[in-house]
Symmetry: C2
Subunit: 337 residues, 2 copies
Amino acid sequence: MSRPQKRATVHDIAAAAGVSRGTVSRVLNGGYVSAEARAAIEAAILEVGYVPNNAARTLKMRRSQAVGFVALEPHSLFLDDPNIGSIMLGANAALSLADHQMVSLVVESQRDTERVARYLSGGFVDGAIVVSARTRDPIIKVIADLGLPAAFVGHPPELSDNIPFVGIDNVGSAQAITARLAASGRRRIGMIAAALDRDSGIDRLTGFKTALGTGYDPALVADVPHYDYGSGAKGMRLLLEREPSIDGVFAASDAIAAGALETLREAGRSVPGDVGVVGFDDSTWAVRCQPQLSTVHQPAKELGSYAAQLVLRQLRGETLEPGGQMLPTPIVWRDSA
Amino acid sequence: MSRPQKRATVHDIAAAAGVSRGTVSRVLNGGYVSAEARAAIEAAILEVGYVPNNAARTLKMRRSQAVGFVALEPHSLFLDDPNIGSIMLGANAALSLADHQMVSLVVESQRDTERVARYLSGGFVDGAIVVSARTRDPIIKVIADLGLPAAFVGHPPELSDNIPFVGIDNVGSAQAITARLAASGRRRIGMIAAALDRDSGIDRLTGFKTALGTGYDPALVADVPHYDYGSGAKGMRLLLEREPSIDGVFAASDAIAAGALETLREAGRSVPGDVGVVGFDDSTWAVRCQPQLSTVHQPAKELGSYAAQLVLRQLRGETLEPGGQMLPTPIVWRDSA
């Protein structure tokens, strides 16, 4: 296998030709530019060795018509996260409509990292969707170095400024559901906060603090490692010990909320009578709990579909603005608060 | 894309050369055979156009070093089945150790079926692991027609007699846990039977009947469509209506058992005091239930790993005996019965 090589980009052409990226894009997409600019751009294309992404028909033999779906942290995604299946099916449906094959790649070990990096740079895929990206992940670096058309699901790491992403507003969503819980008349509201080593965890805690304002009490935050049931059961025990009169809980995920409900049941507290509990995700947990959860709806299928669209648009030669798109996260109010 | 072509097999060479398959295998693997047999086999190899699978080094440019992981029925696998993640990670770990890239392919629509069939026959993968295969699935036909090295997880459909599989003994496992439940002193034992349109569902019901023998009462079988929580809650309501004195339940999956527990709680029946409940899978549901489930352990990770080994052995040129391997399914006895 060859080592990853940096693929020339529209930016390189623009720099070499001394024109804007928009002008380069117009040439690549068959639009109108001055004869002078066109000549400069065509010379620059040869100079930098640019392979146009939008020349799909002429390059058919060099295109795999496949897009990688790269799951980093697969252990937690596939065993704990009830959303990954929906994200995958959403991405697959969008790619399928465009006649692209989604190939899902699991990165669990150092060995996987190296092999997947070779695979991505070996021409087997035309683009990649990356879920659960972390800062300084070698896979992200390979994608960036190659200039492979890509998109992230979720907040991207710093390295990837020029790769678009689709996600949700964790701060705003957490703030909204906490405010709704407070508006239901709860006085002592705590949070079971998880995964404070990553953006989603930090952002949900920030939203919680913002909603409570001066009423925020750091003693009422239980810090647990994972978004899972066991962490929820444990976090709720901590909160009950610290504040027996607690009457509201924002759980950072539905699985955490489910664990918290179990602890509350064991402690003889009724939900929502004694304690109102709200979750986050609107996953299968939300409707399996007793009582069913009031929660934030995370549009998992749409996230996958949107990420696939971001990759397909790049494959069609569009130059996307860097940055992210946030999808709406309506609050679903059921019986737990 | 070319239409699928039948790849010549060791069997074809043996037939053309007039020797046994074992003799052909010895030649292909560099073992000793008579000069006469070797000459006949080498001529036959040319005649049938055989591409040796074990000549990996010389054929490196024609090998992708990738193995497809084909999930049929992805909606139920990825959204309802808590085992698919473990099966995937088990397969990936085994393939990774052998420096093969696992590429997971989702088949949800007719469009997917056609595109995945083209992908499998286009040289993008050297082999395939198929989960949740159904009789007459076009993907299975493509794999069989191509002679692509493959393995099934779970009982294979009829079409695939010459493709090896790895699974569990659903009849024996269901019989064992039902017998254990009966031995705990239960007198009126029912079953929530799911998915009676496929082997696993039918086999679990057969095991249940066998265990109860003359004590089997068909009125105490609730037939529900899916292995999920909602089906379990509904199936338990049916059983309670038909036989209020029911004191034991075998649920065809842990998710079903979890739903049954909820119905029993609503009906004011204690578990295991009034009713003993056992499940099947030993999935994450089993330890999240209250009380935790007595159940059959399904070795999901090992199933994935074993299927990967079956494909890798074929890629190394081994001729596998057709048929299946059953992995052990110990009973895990917890608190629900």
